[in-house]
Amino acid sequence: GESVGLHLPTLSVQEGDNSIINCAYSNSASDYFIWYKQESGKGPQFIIDIRSNMDKRQGQRVTVLLNKTVKHLSLQIAATQPGDSAVYFCAENGGWGTDKLIFGTGTRLQVFP
């Protein structure tokens, strides 16, 4: 059958506001998680990662939160800027002994002035 394209959820925020992008991951055995930003025509760009022995990790303007109980990952971007507009993907490794990344469907972030 014909493939149907994904309809990406979209988050629209005003410049200067904080953004929260959520992700439900699939495998309870996953022990490594990572967020990527993908701009049009470019490859995924690493933002921040976290291991399963942590529940929070902070970077520059970004924070990742991990809730293993409900298999949920979130990315918080502080003081969102127009340059943050992109598609954001979470990815998991699927468990110990593998480093392949399993990507989520992505969320489109639109930042308005």
Partner: protein, 113 residues
């Protein structure tokens, strides 16, 4: 900042022809990966490569696919007899250790006619 580079940026090939996609990973990295993204769909893992051999591959990576590190700097993906459904964006990634951030190139858009 070191980056993964991929060539060509766009490859158009007749169905049934062989195609080779080329990647130059980040120079001190030891782990190499290929992913693909069909238009409008998720990024999908194809294969991982370490110590001159495949360490893991997905169901997509069948006998038509092969990878090679012909010298100290290049990493290639070959598709022996292309099919229409091979049309996708192909991303190369590299990492310095397993379960560390994988850094992606900007991809090769493969169009099969």
């Amino acid at each position: 900042e070191p980056e993964v580079t991929q060539t060509p940026s766009h490859q158009v090939t007749q169905m049934g022809q062989e195609v080779i996609l080329r990647c130059v990973p980040i120079s001190n990295h030891l782990y190499f990966y290929w992913y693909r993204q069909i238009l409008g769909q998720k990024v999908e893992f194809l294969v991982s490569f370490y110590n001159n051999e495949i360490s893991e591959k997905s169901e997509i990576f069948d006998d038509q696919f092969s990878v090679e590190r012909p010298d100290g700097s290049n990493f290639t993906l070959k598709i022996r007899s292309t099919k229409l459904e091979d049309s996708a964006m192909y991303f190369c990634a590299s990492g310095d250790r397993g379960n560390q951030p994988q850094h992606f190139g900007d991809g090769t858009r493969l169009s099969i006619l």
